[in-house]
Amino acid sequence: MAQVAHPAAPAVPITVTVNGTTYRHAVEPRTLLVYYLRDTLSLFGTHIGCDTTSCGACTVLLNGLAVKSCTVLAAQADGAEILTVEGLARDGQLHPIQEAFWLEHGLQCGFCTPGMLLTALQILQRHPDPSDPEIRRGLEGNLCRCTGYQHIVNAVRRAARELQSAPPAGAD
């Protein structure tokens, strides 16, 4: 494997709407979406956990799809709508998924939690009343070293019940 250092390339103009706010930037083509969110937009809630596309701590919703933002270029997000963990709470009110993680003790160190929350939203979009196996399957791309997952599963189950009975206004 040779060390290469290609010459600088033209920046790519991107327009991205993140948590409802539209940003315009020119990014280096190789900028990964997770770095754009953290370093350019100062949204540090999306975490970088593994460098091998394994852990899912970097999960965001990109046009409604849960993706590992460490494996997507910022350039690919041009024109897209992105939801990060910072976009879940509204006017100081926790999103039901956040409430559920709190009440069910679905986190300890919290490092995986932003990714878990966004993936949980995707699971509930696709399965509003998920079985435990469906929840576990949906979480396969998100690793947690602290909880052993059971409380995370409980949290998603609880959030499913909450969202079914009273969906928040403007919920994704």
């Binding site: 190789r30 990964l32 770095y35 596309t53 899912g56 999960t59 993706v67 350039a75």
Partner: protein
């Protein structure tokens, strides 16, 4: 880690993308789902100078059946195939495979065309498509070319695509009456590549004899592998226990796994035997309409 620098293009049409490939040749790579390429670039195992993003080109993702084939657009995401009612009900082998690729987040981005073109022997679609005798359509400056999947994987991470061609469609023969298929994967943990995986497709005639049999092996050879000798054991025969066992043993012998972090070669070889036997039984159940 961070990829090396590259120049980025987002063409709006296939001819535009082909033109970029022609211009930049070996220094260019195509970006589809990016969940094989970008990890390689982050590790600097790949460092293309030019990256051609295919995701702005319309109408490259679709799942449609016509009179003879299931046509899958190259940019169709694994998740779309997993969710497709058409695939689930009429192409159970493909549904099984879609279900076990990586994890749900990767499946939201990864594409079938990207997976096949990447020609990773650990790619599940390779073995699945070998089993169903698919074809791929390559679009280049000389027009369209149909490539049978059988000769498509020429070496590890190497396909029969020319440097200026783009894989634009995958075509799977429509199932005949009496056909059944299954894809089984053994992995160390969720989201992993296979220790071994096997896809089996077969047809039973009215007397319960096997017609065409397709067996594809994943991650146990330098490329996705078609287990021809195993297929020949069953074609034209009744799929009785002894024949199934011989076919499974033949598949295991045809595999050439290497010992690595996923296990010793002999273990993997024996898992080919076990998975082939199980996939054969499952395919037969489905062929007999036993669901």
């Amino acid at each position: 880690m961070i990829p090396d620098r590259f120049e980025y293009f987002a063409p709006q049409s296939v001819p535009e993308a082909v033109g970029l490939l022609q211009r930049y040749g070996a220094e260019a790579r195509l970006l589809a789902g990016g969940h094989s390429l970008i990890p390689l670039m982050k590790l600097r195992l790949a460092a293309p100078r030019y990256l051609i993003d295919l995701n702005r080109i319309p109408r490259l993702a679709s799942i449609e059946e016509d009179a003879t084939v299931l046509r899958i657009g190259a940019l169709t995401r694994h998740a779309e195939l997993e969710a497709s009612e058409l695939v689930r009900t009429r192409y159970p082998l493909l549904a099984d495979a879609a279900h076990v690729i990586a994890d749900p987040l990767v499946r939201n981005m990864g594409t079938i065309g990207g997976s096949l073109a990447h020609a990773d022997p650990a790619g599940d679609w390779g073995a699945a498509m070998l089993a169903v005798r698919a074809e791929v359509v390559a679009t280049g400056p000389r027009g369209l070319r149909t490539i049978p999947i059988d000769g498509f994987f020429t070496d590890t991470f190497t396909s029969a695509l020319e440097p200026d061609e783009i894989l634009t469609e995958v075509r799977v023969p429509r199932p005949q009456r009496g056909s059944g298929g299954a894809y089984l994967k053994l992995e160390r943990k969720v989201g992993d590549f296979a220790i071994a995986a096997v896809g089996v497709s077969l047809v039973l005639d009215g007397r319960g004899t096997c017609g065409q049999v397709g067996i594809g092996l994943c991650n146990v050879a330098p490329t996705s592998l078609r287990a021809r000798r195993a297929e020949a054991v069953l074609e034209g025969k009744k799929p009785e226990a002894a024949a199934l066992a011989r076919a499974a043993a033949a598949a295991a012998e045809e595999a050439t796994p290497v010992s690595d972090l996923r296990g010793p070669a002999e273990f993997k070889r024996d898992m080919v035997r076990v998975l082939t036997a199980r996939a054969l039984r499952r395919a037969l159940q489905r062929a007999r309409g036993e669901g």
